[in-house]
């Protein structure tokens, strides 16, 4: 599109109104950005028409003509969305088959997660190291103990009853928290001077990148029992968590490797000349710089991880997507696919968009700090 700076003199005349008056500013902005030429105006109108058309199709369906409550699909008589389906099933979508009397335990786990995220993400809060420790050790252990129970009078809730958003969050948060550290280790291993470590890391990374995640999950659920003592069955949730962490770690490793290779040799030499050994050089000098360089790639991988969590349905887990699919097949609510998948899409979009906003904030913070 034509920009004011590239216009021939005279065409980008400031509006006749005083440029400081709000109305004058708006008019001048419209002239420069929307109606600078007839082609710009046509393009602007075309885009506006498309956006308007989409809103015209969705908004009345989703809001004005929608039915908000009811006991079955039969109560949805309007032409709009049947949100009654979602409100009726909401608690199942959030908790899966977790026993209703015990759901306060899941709520505490959610609250712990929110506390951890705020602690980690709000720049002004101190003690980021402790926050990381909280996310990597306290949160997973506390969440597992709380949800599983079996101590202090808490009834045992086996993991096959965990589901819905709760399960999706367990998979996503554990995957995001642990895939980056493991990815860093694999990236370092891939560049190691010790051949066995290097070969192992290359082999692992290339295996994970070369095989679809579904295949990995299938193989694990089918093949692992052969290697375990007879009679023991692998816990599908544990399998899914471990699978996601290591599968995504392989992708993280390649992202981090890109950052490692972008660093000049002088940084290694300066660290060595001061007397830093391998691990201190990596921890204090190399990795902080390498990871900063690859924040967009890390977030990209994180978002794909988040969406990959929906694949755990093949090992029989009811994550958010799978539990909505199950809800849709309820005869009482037959025909509610649009509403169900709309909500699933919205929840995933919100989480992914949140991640990208956070990543842009991080990048801006780094740019401010280094002013490079």
């Amino acid at each position: 599109m034509t920009d004011a700076a590239t216009l021939p003199a005279g065409r980008a005349r400031p509006s006749s109104a005083s440029p400081n008056a709000p109305l004058g500013r708006i008019v001048s902005w419209l002239r420069r950005r929307i109606f600078a030429s007839w082609r710009d105006a046509a393009l602007s109108f075309a885009v506006a028409a498309v956006l308007g058309g989409i809103a015209w199709a969705i908004v009345p369906w989703a809001l004005f003509d929608a039915t908000w409550s009811g006991a079955s699909r039969a109560d949805c008589t309007g032409t709009g969305a049947c949100w009654a389906f979602v409100t009726a099933k909401a608690s199942q979508f959030v908790y899966g088959f977790y026993p209703p009397a015990e759901r306060w335990r899941a709520n505490i786990a959610f609250a712990l997660l929110v506390v951890g995220l705020i602690w980690l993400m709000v720049p002004r809060l101190p003690g980021k190291r402790h926050a990381a420790l909280f996310m990597m050790v306290v949160l997973p252990v506390a969440t597992f103990l709380l949800l599983h129970g079996g101590f202090g009078g808490l009834a045992v809730v086996p993991s096959d009853q965990w589901g819905g958003l709760l399960l999706t969050m367990i998979l996503a948060v554990s995957g995001i928290t642990f895939s980056l550290p493991f990815g860093v280790l694999f990236a370092l291993g891939r560049r190691s001077r010790m051949p066995l470590i290097r070969w192992f890391c290359i082999g692992f990374i290339e295996f994970c990148r070369g095989v679809p995640f579904l295949t990995v999950l299938f193989m694990a659920i089918v093949m692992l029992p052969f290697f375990l003592p007879s009679g023991t069955k692998p816990d599908p949730l544990a399998l899914a968590v471990v699978g996601i962490i290591f599968y995504e770690a392989a992708y993280m490793a390649e992202v981090v490797r890109g950052g490692l290779q972008a660093l000049p040799k002088g940084q290694y030499e300066a660290a060595m000349a001061i007397g830093f050994g391998y691990w201190r050089t990596m921890l204090h000098i190399i990795l902080p710089q390498a990871v900063r360089k690859v924040v967009p790639g890390v977030v990209n991988t994180t978002i794909s991880l988040l969406k990959n969590t929906t694949l755990v349905m093949v090992v029989g887990l009811f994550d958010l997507l799978n539990i909505v699919s199950a809800g849709v097949s309820d005869p009482l609510w037959a025909g509610s696919q649009a509403e169900g998948y709309f909500i699933v899409g919205l929840v995933f979009w919100l989480m992914s968009f949140g991640l990208s906003c956070y990543s842009r904030a991080i990048e801006a913070g780094f740019a401010r700090a280094e002013r490079s």
């Binding site: 000349a273 007397g275 902080p288």
Partner: protein, 245 residues
């Protein structure tokens, strides 16, 4: 005679077929200031990079305060803490503030408490005339300022000897003097220094001995006066004519 702080005895190094260092013998006494010069590719930088184990050598022995320098040895890190190094391209850590560039080593390697390390770092930054920039980041400073920070960073580890690898070669001409002045002040404190440099004025002002290298070997060693006024080899004569226009 005092024991040498640094000794290179019969040091040889090859890059596959290329013989970069030939039979280097050199002893540096505590407090001595050595300037190493010579045409490019003569092995000057390689030699001083061998002294703190940034480069490996194949034959001979290098010792720092009696400790043998070997790249694969666990003791190399302890030796490097005692040997400060200043690079041509500064190599400051861009993700750390100036102050943190100085304190990282002492805090992590020598277990100096942060408060003490920062006080010492500020002292050093004052000494290189950059105290007011302590909270800035390396990319916000000029080349000359960055190089002075690099000198202070090396000094923060309280080294016994300082190696300078062409410290002014990457600088704009107007910044060379501020770095040389800091090096001259440092020489005045009695620090043992080995400087690879083409700054002949600096060599005359502070060097006890000038080491002239050519083709990977030490061709000549002498006091600045005898080297500049009456070089013994033809190579040295040519070189001096080229650097002193």
């Amino acid at each position: 005679m005092e024991n040498p702080l640094i000794r290179l005895a019969g040091v040889n190094k090859w890059y596959s077929q290329f013989h970069v260092l030939r039979d280097i013998d050199l002893e540096v006494k505590p407090g001595e200031r050595i300037v190493v010069c010579g045409p490019s590719g003569s092995g000057k930088s390689t030699m001083i990079r061998c002294i703190n184990g940034l480069e490996a050598y194949e034959q001979g022995l290098i010792t720092v305060a009696g400790e043998p320098v070997a790249q694969d040895d666990d003791r190399i890190e302890a030796i490097r803490q005692r040997v400060g190094m200043v690079f041509q391209n500064f190599n400051l850590f861009p993700h750390l503030s100036i102050l943190d560039n100085l304190t990282l080593g002492p805090i992590k390697l020598k277990r100096v408490p942060r408060v003490a390390a920062e006080a010492r770092a500020m002292e050093l930054l004052e000494r290189v005339h950059i105290g007011h920039q302590a909270r800035k980041f390396p990319n916000q400073l000029s080349g000359g300022q960055q190089q002075r920070v690099a000198i202070a960073r090396a000094l923060a580890m309280e080294p016994q000897v300082m190696l300078f690898d062409e410290p002014t070669s990457a600088l704009d001409p107007e910044m060379v003097k501020e770095v040389l002045d800091v090096m001259i002040e440092l020489a005045g404190t009695g620090m043992t220094m080995i400087c690879v440099t083409h700054e002949m004025g600096f060599a005359r002002a502070v060097a006890d001995r000038v080491v002239f290298m050519a083709d990977g070997a030490i061709a000549e060693i002498g006091t600045p006066d005898s080297f500049f006024e009456a070089p013994r080899t033809e190579r040295a004569r040519q070189f001096i004519q080229q650097v002193i226009h």
